[in-house]
Symmetry: C2
């Protein structure tokens, strides 16, 4: 039996779900909570350490002290500007070694994973630990994309993949062939909210979320949940397409209920290898 799972927790409810799992299966967990990112509820009743971004040495020491040799990075983290970081000496050295200032979002995550591995930790993917969250191929609820929606999904995938090659974004909104919006750091909710007023008349658009080519899958998979469905419906969309095996559907049952109620489709798309 390995020691407790080390959970480096970003925002949202996913980290707490993992804490609950580790507590219910007896493994236990130790949480590194990031100021300004982690929800308070994530650390209730579980061993944890709050740190500011950049206090890597304290985090690593604490993880070792608690015997957490396996780590998972889970939940979105707002990437700070370099100028906001107050890195400790250890972190500065690691950043220099990694060429931190020259990396995109995913490049940085991949570099962090490699660095933690070089410190002797094993990094597990969220999808390994919460495999039931991983999107599957096919329709989730009652509704299916029609031909226009399928064409929009195809175009959305091409756009997000092209952006992803430059290590930006994981989402796009497409309506009848028109790319209404693409995501950078603002997040999917903000993307959807601004696409509402940009909506053209006619059939509504689709939200497409897929991982980047070569994405570090142990760090930052695209995620949809009940809130995504609600905001997508408010923006006048007809459905959501996620990458089967490359994105997470959190609370699938509730998501399907919300999608069915709102008249939206949710579909997992198999992108092949």
């Amino acid at each position: 039996m390995p020691g407790p799972l080390g959970i480096v927790a970003g925002g949202g409810h996913l980290p707490r779900r993992l804490v609950d799992l580790c507590q219910s299966n007896g493994r236990g967990a130790f949480v590194i909570a990031l100021e300004g990112n982690t929800e308070i509820s994530t650390v209730e009743g579980v061993d944890h350490l709050w740190i500011k971004m950049g206090q890597t040495k304290r985090a690593i020491d604490a993880l070792r002290r608690f015997g957490a040799q396996e780590l998972v990075l889970i939940g979105p983290v707002k990437r700070p500007a370099l100028s906001e970081l107050r890195p400790d000496g250890y972190t500065i050295k690691a950043m220099a070694k990694l060429g931190f200032d020259r990396l995109g979002d995913d490049g940085i995550l991949a570099a962090i994973v490699r660095h933690l591995e070089s410190e002797g930790f094993t990094i597990r993917g969220v999808d390994e630990l919460l495999g039931d969250l991983l999107a599957v191929a096919g329709s989730y609820g009652r509704f299916q994309p029609d031909d226009q929606a399928k064409a929009d999904i195809e175009r959305g995938i091409a756009v997000v993949r092209a952006m992803g090659a430059a290590d930006v974004g994981q989402a796009a909104v497409v309506q009848n062939g028109i790319v209404l919006g693409v995501e950078a750091v603002e997040g999917t909710d903000a993307l959807l909210e601004r696409c509402g007023p940009l909506r053209r008349s006619g059939l509504g658009g689709v939200l497409v979320k897929v991982s980047k080519p070569g994405q570090e899958r142990r760090a930052d998979l695209p995620t949809v949940g009940v809130r995504t469905v609600r905001v997508a419906a408010e923006a006048g969309l007809r459905g959501i397409a996620v990458e089967a095996g490359g994105s997470l559907v959190v609370d699938a049952e509730a998501v399907v209920r919300a999608a069915d109620r709102a008249g939206l489709f949710l579909i997992g798309i198999d992108l092949g290898a």
Copy 2:
């Protein structure tokens, strides 16, 4: 001497500038004004025809009647959803031939240009007619990008080019290596406005506008003007980079005054062939 210039006028003040030029040099102009796009001031005191998008036959007949054999497409046009179009029979046939529904923004423009050429028109680029608007390499005003801004410009160019390969957008905002936003149909002003609140602490970001690889240069070059400078300053940016020879600076003198006053740099970047 060719007949009057046929001006298919989108929004903004650029079309009027071209009308004025044709009137002052004695060539004359005939304007196709697009409902919902063209400014009223564009057609004052010049022969013109207002059409809805899709009334191509009327436009072509009128251009021929006025002897306008050379055309220019100038100013941004809101791309309508297919469902908003009320195309005439001629347009429907042309759209079917062009495979309209499968094209991105730039693909559509290129197809329209090819189609007009097949009808015997000669299509001129804005840059041929208003060559003094074409961005030149080097700094426009008093301020220069520092090393961080130069790195942000480089990253912005890579991102916009990657998106452009999927025929989306011409602009991105980058701050200290972080891509705050990328443009789809919302336009540069809306991009800048949403990047204001997304701004991180530290040195401000840059706006990068470059053309798409293989862009139909006779249709839709990226443009900056006084308003761009003002909105960029309000969003906390430090400067603007445009593609030398591949974008337009409208009212360069006024733009430079605005940039100098706001403390922003404006630089034309030579991207090579």
